[in-house]
Symmetry: C2
Subunit: 506 residues, 2 copies
Amino acid sequence: MSPNDTYTELKKKMREVALLASSQSVLYWDREANLPPKGSDHRADQLAQLNRLMHDWFVDPKVGDMLSTIEAGDLLKDPESEPAVNCREWRRLYDREVKLPGDFVEEFTRVTSKAANVWAEARKKSDFKLFQPHLEKIVELCRQKADFIGYTTERYDALLDEFEPGAKVSEVEAAFEDLRKELVTLIAKIREAPKKPDVGILKRPWNVDRQRIFVEMVAIAMGYDFEAGRLDEAVHPMCTPMGPYDTRIFSRYYPEDLAEGLTGVMHEAGHALYDQSHPRPELWGTPLDESASLAIHESQSRTWENIVGRSRQFWVYFFPQLKRLFREETAGVKLDDFYAAMNWVSPSYIRVEADEATYNLHIMLRFELERAMLDGDLKVADVPGEWNRRFKDYFGLEVDKDSNGCLQDVHWSDGSLGYFPTYALGNMFAAQFWVQAQKDVPGVEDDFARGEFGRLLKWLSENIHDQGMKYTGAKLCEKVTGQPVSHRSLIDYLYAKYEPIYGIRR
Amino acid sequence: MSPNDTYTELKKKMREVALLASSQSVLYWDREANLPPKGSDHRADQLAQLNRLMHDWFVDPKVGDMLSTIEAGDLLKDPESEPAVNCREWRRLYDREVKLPGDFVEEFTRVTSKAANVWAEARKKSDFKLFQPHLEKIVELCRQKADFIGYTTERYDALLDEFEPGAKVSEVEAAFEDLRKELVTLIAKIREAPKKPDVGILKRPWNVDRQRIFVEMVAIAMGYDFEAGRLDEAVHPMCTPMGPYDTRIFSRYYPEDLAEGLTGVMHEAGHALYDQSHPRPELWGTPLDESASLAIHESQSRTWENIVGRSRQFWVYFFPQLKRLFREETAGVKLDDFYAAMNWVSPSYIRVEADEATYNLHIMLRFELERAMLDGDLKVADVPGEWNRRFKDYFGLEVDKDSNGCLQDVHWSDGSLGYFPTYALGNMFAAQFWVQAQKDVPGVEDDFARGEFGRLLKWLSENIHDQGMKYTGAKLCEKVTGQPVSHRSLIDYLYAKYEPIYGIRR
């Protein structure tokens, strides 16, 4: 068979794997949205079976043979062509996946799916002991996974590569070090600032039904397509793609906090727009239709949540609309005070509720603990103590209970060690992309003041989404912005915003 | 390998098929509950893939070999033992399924899944032309299916056997003929009856939120386990088992009709109790844990919906509770008048809303049309005309629009030709079982007046549910009641109820 025909056949085979993965996504989504409590063990078995199947299909030696046949021809000579991008990624994934035994893959899914329920329970009760044996198993499985995959310097590299292809722990560490120094200075300045927003404006009773109306208006304005998605409520905000025209988001609302529900939906809808902004069903299920990396995906959610949703221009348009829905709650509140409140900076326990300045310190803490667990320097039993010690050190706060500490995130329960760094990388990418978007689309920020986000979405779609996995995250950043990944744009952006609000100077 | 070890291995293999089927059920359920409109084509592809996979696993020649190995030993000598029941059913299914080409199975699922959406649209618009080409394809596929499977007398036998193993069209036809004669007489007596219930009692504005509270109370009293299921709303009432501890039901509520929402939930919860009354996770995924037939399954839902839910004793307990929730709506209404209204008999368009007397005529009409379509005597294009002609003949009513006629049921769109007769058979079984239950559990009906249904459920569980597929539906009826399937108990039951309400005499 010619390389061309082989490619066509391989693409078909890989789309079968993607189709099965999309069915699995429905089961994951349903687990969060609908699963009756007694059904959780069976769901774990269902998920494990599907993962095992996908793995078996993927590591079929025929896939390796087909890749070799294609690679031997000249179909891939243009490295940015569809076959070249797809085959490069399939090769990378194949070489990685083939090292994992099928039984291990099945066991990993079963253990993590069961752990997810225990974690939810442990978090509710703030009882780390309940979760500890599960986390011990998960850390052990993650260590095994890294050993199966292999690494040169440390286990963490093997795990990070799953989420951020091509990234190295040493580079992440260096980028984080620069970022940390700047953030510590910025946060200190804000702590001592002469002006402080009145965050109490946001911490009032906000009718949840009307919050839902407001965030739906915002999601629609962003371009979120409700005919190709849903907005539901669950314990954890989340975006789940499950087909070319089915990308659903979860949010949660707090009756006494307006910001959480809104920014949560803007964040998740930002992820969803990656799929929705320009669907290409003919490419669906291939790397060219997937995101370059999780950090790049996160850059999109953070763009909408923060750069758009906490901008003054956004509120020029939406504050009057908010006022119409919440007359009493906003009586006497001025736009600039509201905008300032949306940009309140203060150390707090919960990562997903953190402001743009302190957020990245949350990530660094997790990154450090994960590395220590994987290296064997930190026992799982000692995680709460170590978390709390470092938290005091970074944030100046005593953690009052583990649900406000090491039990707050879902990620460890689902086995995603190595994932957290992509969040901070995503914040850096977002700021870098934003600098470029403003250059390429003059006046883009002023669009927001008219409730117009189409030019921004088009720019993101063409420059980021449509690139698929053509480049790694780091390479895409360079292609789009001409600069390597760096903390500078993020720090510039934060000072530009916080200087007038807090009356501080860089 | 010994027959014993082979059986253990086969059981494991078959449970893998069942596990995958249970994942598919989640996707079906989600399609009804949650799917965004643009996602329907992709969902059809997902369902088709899973069906294809299950088929391929099932018809793996190894399964045939394993069955032969087991059959050659003496493991199956007790025909009611676990291995004997399971292997008999697997053999039957294997021999049936192996005749269907994999591509056909995949195509069948894809066509019907897409048709389901078109049908819903056609029904909403009452536009048969929209649905017609899909139904034409489906009838053609059903004819092919029957031809693949084979039959001696007519195609319908091959399809009926899927839903009601061992049943023959000729037997069904004979049973229906007896039933029809009696029903026509009964309905004529009721039409001319000296007394008529005031059905207006039920056709008032009933607050839907409070309807939900009431039906949940009823479902809980029946024994429905909300920790192992859910009650949601969708266009079609439905029960979907998706694991040993996850059996969900859909209902719908009408703001001006109390009976539909309530009886719908009692019906579906009746199905769900088949799974929930006595879970046997160690048998899950084997025929011994499945229902004898769809008619037997239906006998359970009809027992709860009609024999319990339309009994006077049930309302002795629940009418006072209803009164507490709906003071104004029930002001001045007496128990006996309410009970009589719940047993209102009158020809009407919609099968699922039909009373116990006319319901079975709806089934017969569908049975006749399906046979004619399969035999080629009736073109799909002529279905609306033929439906309406017969409906006038049986019910004395002119069908005003196809959504009240041939477009009302979901079954044809999902390719389930051959399914309808099980509904009428189920009604006959239910009445026969009820006669026996009253003998075996003296005073069981009086339990209802105290809101107690545990003794009934235990009897159903032991005599029906726990038998799994040990016997065919017809055989189980004989085992439990000592009688072959017959219309007599149903007719006796209906006269016993309607004589005092309508002042008629047999």
